[in-house]
Amino acid sequence: MKKTGDGNGFRPHPALLALLDLLLALLILLVYAFFQYGLPALRPAPPVQPSPTVSAPTQAPVSQETPPPEEDNRNPWQIRFAEHFTEETVRTDHSYTSPNVSVTLETVTVGEGRNQIVYHVADIYVASPENFCTYTANNELRYYSVQDAMEMDRDSGAIVSISGDQYSYQGNGFLVRNGQVYKKGYAYCDICVLFDDGRIEMYRPDSYNVDELLEQGAVQVWNFGPSLLDENGQPYESYSVSTAVSFPNPRSALGYYEPGHYCFVVVDGRQEEYSKGMTIPELAQVFQDLGCVSAYNLDGGGSALMLFNHERYSRQSNGADRELGDILLIKEIEE
């Protein structure tokens, strides 16, 4: 404290005032953090409701002209994707096939040296929408709940899994996991919806009604984005993403061909001489080249990860599994 010459009292040193201002700012941030993140975390988790039954596609109408063999009780997806399924479960280092699931993995390298990019594609066929689900950390829907990705992969019984949208760190939005509604708020980003008939659709913010989507059978709603392809399956001219996200980065994304046929793409990045990562337009181009009709960007960066047969298939940028809020996965349906 410094005393003024005219004797009007003590006038704090400007440096002390600046320090007090900083401390006040810190206090404000702490109060803000409590109300924004701490208080919601203290609230009890939503009651666990039984997941709605996701019905497998029903038998196709029997045509009188070409009656199917009587013993053929396969559903339409099993018939449609029959060439991809096998009678017995067959596992290799890069594929998994069974009567209900087909997953084929491929690692693609483009460019060389410092511009090299490595990405992994999992081409997926399933016999039922139930084969495609999400697993949330610690098998609960809770704010800030995270778990080691490998643990989640094992706990869920996944055949192949990728990092999700980090739902547990999202303060707002419209979030549904396996038919259970976690948040019914406004999403400030494109949302991706998986319906119980296997369709995947993307919606711009403000272009949907939450209740209508739930009535239509939304079983998964992811909030991250952006949506990568337009209604014609072409990349957009530009993407609205923050500066930090716009640079080449590790990526995790979901592609959609038709009900029952999907793909997961994970791009390795931030690793010099191995893979620098991709920008959002580059990622969109990958999905266009794959022939997807729509695609959706999920949480990338240090979270981007693909696991197959309970092993790491992609190479995470930070060298170790980051704890994640959720994963998207393909699994066999438990009888």
Binding site: D21, L24, A25, F35, Q36, Y169, G171, S242, A244
Partner: protein, 66 residues
């Protein structure tokens, strides 16, 4: 009232600093919703109110000074 007037500029500085921090964090991780929701809205409104009050007090003081 005199103390409150003296506090206003510092409150404005602190609130602005807090918002700057949140703005930077939001740029790096927009999905965390640092500038979304009611607490953020309250913070922004408080900052605006303090700035307006501090500005008005300063303008009035300048006028008296003339």
């Amino acid at each position: 009232m005199r103390h409150f007037k003296a506090l206003l500029p510092h409150l404005s500085i602190a609130l602005s600093l807090a918002l700057l921090v949140l703005g930077i964090l939001n740029e790096f991780n927009p999905r965390a919703g640092f500038l979304q929701g009611k607490p953020a809205l309250v913070l922004i409104c408080l900052c605006c109110l303090c700035s307006v009050a501090a500005g008005a007090a300063l303008a009035a003081a300048n006028r008296r000074g003339k």
